[in-house]
């Protein structure tokens, strides 16, 4: 009789645990399968998958859509990357705003809103980070996913004890084998993230991409925040862009890509192709270690009293200096990325007229005036040929 009772208790406990597993698992399942609408602009030409350039990622969660805007007018070409680290969501939002509003009069523009798609399919581990944020638009609210930094372990596992970067053989942190910005130039038969890097390199090489812009966000205590990081060949255009923007719109630093730091896009993409490689960083309080409660509001507004204290103690590197009255709102970060991109295009056109691209999309002043939601279009009213899900 006692044994029967024991079994009954165990079954009840198991049922409760399975219910908890279902409730938790449902949230994980939802974020993995969440789809983001994108209403492409009138300049849109074609959407294809990155695996068209390297079979190694075909059919995997790392394969990601590429949006092409071809003016038909001979000129230069550029690749704009958001979501290399999806836990830096202003980069993806900047790519969405560009993709939904861009006009291309000369040359070609390729946009990849979620460069590491797999990393977008899970939330950030630890610290009770929110999984989504919501923006107000002209037609209602729109929900966005906040992903993680590295490729989902469901798609690439196990990590090695030491990650040996290919081809430099430099030893890097073990988890960086799932970090898209440590695996360039990649290889066709490597780990999944290396294969993504390789596919992006193949796109750059096969399409003769002239300008490569990789958007990122950084914690305010990271010295490279609010900065262009430029490969040797793109240093001139980035210096000019930095000076122009700093004088006319907002302060942004410029640094040369270190030659001994391997695997990063601003180094390897420039070394292993002919493109002008540029990386940009904005200030994202959400990922700062000293920030207080990590909430959706912090993601949207960037206002945090602990960061204000850190700023007063001179511990932050962002420019302009952090002020809690303004914070670092997401539309400001998107605006910085878009104007930062436009400025390097402008200076590339000056330095290399044969690579000229004539393009238009919302810029810093537009974002500061109208917010980011204003530039996102209603998927329910969109032409079905222009509506995609990322």
């Amino acid at each position: 009789m006692k044994n029967d009772n024991n079994v009954t208790y165990k079954i009840i406990i198991l049922a409760i645990v399975l219910l908890l597993a279902f409730l938790g698992g449902r949230e994980f399942y939802e974020i993995r399968h969440f789809k983001q609408s994108i209403v492409v602009s009138d300049s849109f030409t074609e959407r294809f998958m990155l695996s068209d350039y390297s079979e190694g990622i075909k059919g995997t969660w790392a394969d990601t859509p590429v949006y092409l805007y071809d003016s038909g007018e001979p000129g230069g070409s550029m690749l704009l990357l958001g979501g290399t680290h999806p836990y830096e969501p202003a980069t993806m939002l900047a790519a969405y705003v560009a993709a939904e509003n861009i006009s291309v009069k000369k040359g070609k523009v390729y946009i990849i809103p979620a460069a590491n798609y797999s990393a977008m399919t899970l939330g950030i581990l630890g610290n009770a980070y929110p999984k989504y944020y919501t923006l107000d638009t002209e037609w209602g609210s729109k929900k966005f996913r906040i992903g993680d930094r590295n490729t989902n372990p469901l798609d690439q596992w196990p990590d090695p004890f030491t990650y040996v970067h290919y081809p430099s053989t430099q030893n890097l942190a073990y988890q960086d084998i799932r970090n898209l910005n440590r695996t360039y130039p990649g290889r066709p038969d490597g780990a999944l993230t290396e294969r993504v890097s390789y596919a992006i390199m193949e796109l750059i090489r096969k399409e003769n991409i002239d300008l490569y812009v990789d958007m990122h966000e950084a914690s305010l205590m990271y010295p490279v925040v609010s900065t262009y990081v430029a490969h040797d060949r793109s240093l001139d255009i980035c210096m000019m862009a930095s000076m122009t923007l700093s004088a006319e719109q907002f302060p942004i630093k410029c640094e040369a890509s270190p030659k001994s730091l391997r695997g990063l896009s601003h180094r390897e993409v420039g070394d292993f192709s002919d493109t002008l490689a540029v990386l940009m960083e904005t200030a994202e309080p959400f990922i700062d270690r000293v920030a207080g409660r990590i909430t959706e509001e912090l993601m949207i507004t960037g206002k945090d009293e602990f960061l204000q204290t850190a700023s007063e103690a001179g511990l932050l590197y962002c420019q302009p200096e952090y002020d809690i009255n303004f914070g670092s709102p997401i539309h400001y970060r998107v605006g910085r990325h878009l104007s930062g991109t436009m400025e390097v295009i402008k200076w590339m056109n000056e330095f290399f007229p044969e690579k000229e691209i004539i393009v238009g999309f919302p810029l810093y002043a537009d974002l500061m005036e109208k917010g980011a939601g204003y530039f996102l279009h209603d998927p329910e009213k969109a032409d079905e040929n222009k509506l995609f899900y990322n």
Binding site: Y9, L14, A21, L154
Partner: protein
Amino acid sequence: MLFLTEVIHQIYFIMAAVFALLLLRGLFKRNTRKTLIYDVVYAYSIIPFLLRALHIK
């Protein structure tokens, strides 16, 4: 190399399923630590292995 990588990757899912089954067996049939609290521990510990085996987390 791609094939080997995939095989190793899949082995981890199989291992997760095996651990989940071992814990399930331990929940119903074990010789030591027979109190109720250990039933809870065994049952609760199944969750991460189950979610991994099902490709959810």
